[in-house]
Symmetry: C2
Subunit: 267 residues, 2 copies
Amino acid sequence: MLIPVLDPKLYFCRMLQVSLIGSGNLAHQLLVALRDLTGVDLVEVTARNTEAIDLLDNDIPLNSDFSKLRPADIYILAVSDAAISPVSEQLGDLPGMLAHTSGSVPMNALMHENRGVFYPLQTFTKGKVVDFSKIPICIEASSRTGMDTLNQLAQKLSEKVTELPSNQRRQLHLAAVMANNFTNHIFYWAERFCIENQLDFTLLHPLIEETVAKMKAVGPFDAQTGPARRGDLNTLQHQLEAMPTPELKQLYQYLSNSIQNTYGKEL
Amino acid sequence: MLIPVLDPKLYFCRMLQVSLIGSGNLAHQLLVALRDLTGVDLVEVTARNTEAIDLLDNDIPLNSDFSKLRPADIYILAVSDAAISPVSEQLGDLPGMLAHTSGSVPMNALMHENRGVFYPLQTFTKGKVVDFSKIPICIEASSRTGMDTLNQLAQKLSEKVTELPSNQRRQLHLAAVMANNFTNHIFYWAERFCIENQLDFTLLHPLIEETVAKMKAVGPFDAQTGPARRGDLNTLQHQLEAMPTPELKQLYQYLSNSIQNTYGKEL
């Protein structure tokens, strides 16, 4: 009988055991991303209402009792900001580390000694599966060992993993609010303005995509165009007068003044 | 001797003769796009300072005398808004139609009887060659024949050609100012905020791209997220306090109020 010789370059790696807590949009996105990830064993999904979870025909155990969790290396608490503290209090002692997923809640909102944060910086849409590999994941942990464990998981999911303390993560979250919520609301204004003038808003889609591409390529300072940057007071006055509502006039004046102030020294 | 029989499906098409006037960024982009376009013969490029034009080793004739233009079907006047009227006055009578490329100048700023507008709705960057096929081109003409000629050229360049009268084109241009200039300035604020907090602004790039993708997929009204949309007054207050400068506080308050007003009826 021949005994096969094992390749010395092969070795056995222990699977990282991950337990997921939550049934919302992010919990679902993480479930989809983690269930088939090499080196990760999704040991359990826990939620008060287990019916809210669609396991997608996987045989991952479901649990509804927060005080009885299976052993895991990392417990990912993917619940709303307001639920982080109350839910973590119900979890009791855990054999692994507990990490929440919020951009704005401090790590110390978790009372567990072995705690951390696992914050994917992205906007998630119900029903739209995301590719985590391009999403920055910001991590924080109460110990170096905890950081290593979180880092191991984050690296498997994303190409962009960053260690950030709570205060900087909160600032990054605020910048994200500006870059997402505020710009989307301006798109809404532009759309309403188009509708009121019987114009097809989708005509602006290529422009909006190029605005972002240009901003990424040269940075927003150099990407700025328009009459406010040029200091073209004549065009500014005409455009201001053409704004149809007091709200849009105010917006136009406010943002144009800010652009003029930013570039004023250049003129 | 055999005489080849011509395929009856083949016929000879007259090339559309196009003359380009201007030496700026858009003129250069159009030169690159038009010189190799099937069915288009770029007969001449005219500019006061012909040295400003890089013909890219093509043998397109260069001209610096506005009063002596070669015959063409369409003269594209790609100059700044302020130069449209003065330059067109110098052109004299033309055998073809004259079209300017501005989003905000009325067609009637051109005194020629056979006039039109050829407005590519996009932001152009020096040195970055664009793909015109995805750029909406808005056209207008003083006659049906003129419109057909402009349409023929626009269709060769772009998949999205729209007929728009001057007043609607001006409104679309204003919507474009909002969607481009205003959002880019908000990206600038977010970047400055990151720099002040020693954060890498590029961490926000994937979020910004997803914000646009989501807005395109479901429209900006449904794409809105954040505390202002949810009416989460507690988070709004915390975020407002965290804004580091009076300018950013004012911006935050202004845009959050507007989002709250937009979604207030839903809550």
